[in-house]
Amino acid sequence: MNRAQKIAWLFVITISLAVVGSLAAFAILYIKVGMPKALASLALIGIAGFGGFGPIVFPKDKGKITCDERDTLINRRAAIAGFGASYLVAGLACMLPFFILGPQATVAVWWLPNIFGAAGLTLFFVHSVVILVQYGRGGEKS
């Protein structure tokens, strides 16, 4: 497993933990205290921030070739998939309220940074998953 895969795994684990944890906490708080206090559970999304420590936790191997044309290609494809997915999330977040609530409804402004955050999480998650899938196809047999 190379450095990019390790960092991708860290992102997948931290983002999954953050999303599952915050959804579980939201469900519990919603039942116990109701809205809007249940929204405090969204703070658990911050767990995803630990994924940013990947480049520090997994430093570059000195004196070895760590990145070549295939790695660059895999990263580029993963980035395209990630940005595509985040664009889709942002698009859906804009269009769903329109279709569900109707054109005359209003949405609180504080939803906008949340949409931005969701798109960002989607970007990193999909980017990491696509990296893992592409390297997984290559195999490690020698």
């Binding site: 070739i65 070549d68 044309e69 295939r70 290559g138 195999g139 490690e140």
Partner: protein
């Protein structure tokens, strides 16, 4: 979709004093994972890398790689 670029890397490694994938990777300035992927036909290298690999064996690109119609 099946890869149409076939290669004889494994055979040439064997003929070159059983050169390891790591040694070939060092000569071609790529990672061992990339050599594994190329050898398995899961990745088609750029022309530049194909030339480097062929040079590592002292062969022409045509000898190492072939395109199947």
């Amino acid at each position: 979709m099946a890869n149409k670029i076939k290669n004889n890397i494994r055979q040439f490694r064997f003929e070159n004093n059983q050169m390891t994938q790591a040694e070939l990777a060092d000569k071609a300035k790529v990672t061992r994972q990339t050599i594994i992927a190329i050898e398995a036909g899961q990745y088609s290298p750029s022309l530049e890398l194909a030339i480097k690999i062929a040079k590592a064996f002292g062969k022409k690109v045509d000898d190492v790689f072939e395109y199947e119609e």
